[in-house]
């Protein structure tokens, strides 16, 4: 019986998408463009500064920035700054994610919680997190805590809203099937509700990560005597334009790398969503 079944309906399995010739050409062109265009921009920029078209004092050349980064790397300053900033980022993001997911879940699962907190949440989330900087210093003084507080404020709402939407969108058929099999409590929550909401939660996490980088730097510019933002602030005070621009681009690069990392993790976690080639 089994063999017969396989022959009869095995053939209807989804077939992998075939690559078209045009797609094959794109397969070479795309990586070339991805690397080539940024490199070309850097080269043009370097030439423009050296030729005096752009004054170096206003906009330093890439070579000056690389020299700056290299020197700070050798002195260890870059590593210290980076680790110090990452520490705040990870704390702020972790707290924001835990709170956001917890409240988002609670509001999505219990109508009473939704009713009780809905208005407050929506008003609070509409306040730009940066405006809390005054109170964050008033309440926490200078140091890690006001920066972490800002990051939490910035990340908790995207996490909350995406978790909420994710849980609300869980198809009732999955809940029925799970309860029919006897699932309840934590198993039902983890393997069905949380798993089904995961794509949406990961979307929230990606938004939150971007916001966390921004708010970490803002916090450090104003309230923290350490980290990448602090170095940036001092460089501005001392008119060190090389270091200023170098650290700005470095922060952008870190943000990009962390996003790539998260995208890779998401890609792996959500492999079940993709076609057969995924």
């Amino acid at each position: 019986m089994v063999e017969q079944v396989r022959v009869l309906d095995g053939h209807t399995m989804a077939e992998p998408a075939r690559q078209k010739p045009a797609a094959a050409a794109g397969a070479i062109l795309v990586p070339v463009l991805r690397i080539g265009v940024p490199v070309a921009l850097l080269v043009l920029w370097e030439i423009a500064v050296r030729a005096g078209i752009i004054p170096a004092r206003f906009f330093p050349a890439p070579s000056a920035l690389f020299a700056e980064i290299w020197a700070d790397l050798l002195s260890g300053k870059l590593v210290v700054d980076t680790l110090s900033s990452l520490n705040r980022l990870v704390w702020g993001l972790s707290i924001g994610v835990v709170l956001g997911v917890a409240f988002g879940m609670a509001m999505a699962l219990w109508r009473q919680v939704d009713a009780a907190l809905g208005v407050t949440v929506h008003v609070l989330r509409a306040i730009p997190p940066i405006t809390w900087i005054g109170f964050s210093i008033l309440w926490f003084g200078l140091g890690n805590r006001p920066a972490i507080f800002l990051i939490v404020l910035g990340t908790v709402f995207p996490m909350l809203l995406n978790t909420y939407a994710g849980v609300k969108q869980v198809d009732v058929i999955y809940l029925r099937a799970a309860r029919n099999l006897g699932a309840h409590g934590f198993l039902l929550f983890r393997d069905v509700v949380l798993a089904a909401a995961l794509p949406s939660i990961l979307t929230g996490l990606r938004v939150s990560l971007g916001l966390a980088w921004i708010l970490m730097v803002v916090g450090e510019l104003i309230a923290v005597p350490a980290g990448l933002g602090d170095t940036l602030m001092r460089a501005q005070d001392y008119d060190q334009t090389d270091r200023m621009l170098a650290y700005m681009i470095l922060i952008g690069f870190y943000g990009y790398l962390s996003d790539l990392l998260l995208a890779a993790v998401s890609h792996r976690l959500l492999r079940w969503q993709r076609g057969i080639e995924g």
Partner: protein, 264 residues
């Protein structure tokens, strides 16, 4: 044989909504199912078949009457009444094997023998080699075999099936129907099978129940004593089909109805 399911006076009315009249989905349904029987409930769409099944499954509550499973009123869904949905209802984020593991955990039956039982069940359903695949990568027939496999794994004494093969192509459907009969003959589970096809009902069931809509009531309850394996092309099969269609045609208000199941 003792009754595994005892439904009496079952009534369900969906209240009026958006200016529409209330719907009498079920009216005074009486139905007894013997342990090990295979029953097909047949009728046009909207006659309350799913409503009936959902009450037995514990997803919905009746407004009146009783629904007893092994002498106890249904109070909610449970693994003693394993359901096979038309929409498969597999968990797309779990592989074939994970779906099976989840089912056994959910049913509180995940013990030391569970992996062996899962393997045996998947092999029986021709899915073992696909254990690492996600449902998305399976054909419709394979998905429905997985949905059946997980009910086999948790060993529900009663299997509830709501038009489980309705979304499949004709060939796959025929194969799965034959598989289901084999499975039933092996396991003697009680099957409550919902369909809108006379052919399907007659091919599968030991007993066919016909419902009509507005209000949803049972108009025919007949034992099918065709010998197995059944052949849908025999005169006996067609005679029975004609008999059933003729009996239900007045309630369908279709004059001169002939043996064409598409009317149903």
């Amino acid at each position: 044989m003792p009754a595994i399911l005892d439904i009496s006076g079952l009534t369900k009315v969906f209240p009026a909504r958006h200016g529409r009249a209330p719907v009498h989905a079920l009216k005074h349904i009486n139905l007894m199912l013997d342990e090990g029987d295979f029953i097909a409930v047949m009728g046009p769409s909207g006659c309350g078949k799913s409503t009936l099944l959902n009450i037995v499954a514990g997803f919905d509550r009746q407004d009146d009457g009783t629904c007893l499973v092994r002498d106890r009123p249904v109070s909610g869904p449970g693994p003693d009444r394993g359901m096979v949905f038309q929409e498969y209802a597999l968990f797309p984020w779990m592989t074939v094997e994970r779906n099976m593991i989840f089912a056994m955990r959910a049913a509180g039956k995940y013990n030391a023998e569970a992996p062996a039982r899962i393997q045996a069940t998947l092999e029986r359903m021709g899915l073992w080699q696909f254990r690492q695949s996600y449902p998305k990568h399976l054909s419709g027939g394979m998905r429905q075999r997985l949905a059946i496999a997980r009910i086999l794994a948790i060993d529900s004494p009663m299997m509830l099936m709501d038009e489980p093969f309705g979304a499949l192509d004709a060939l796959t459907r025929a194969v799965l129907q034959a598989n289901l009969v084999e499975l039933w003959q092996e396991t003697r589970k009680t099957v409550l099978f919902i369909t809108h096809s006379v052919d399907e009902a007659l091919f599968l069931a030991e007993r066919v129940i016909v419902m009509t809509p507005r209000p949803g009531t049972i108009v025919l309850d007949r034992r099918i004593d065709l010998k197995r394996p059944r052949d849908v092309t025999t005169p006996e099969f067609n005679d029975l089909k004609r008999e059933i269609l003729t009996m239900i045609s007045p309630s369908l208000h279709v004059p001169g109805l002939h043996a064409d199941e598409s009317v149903i």
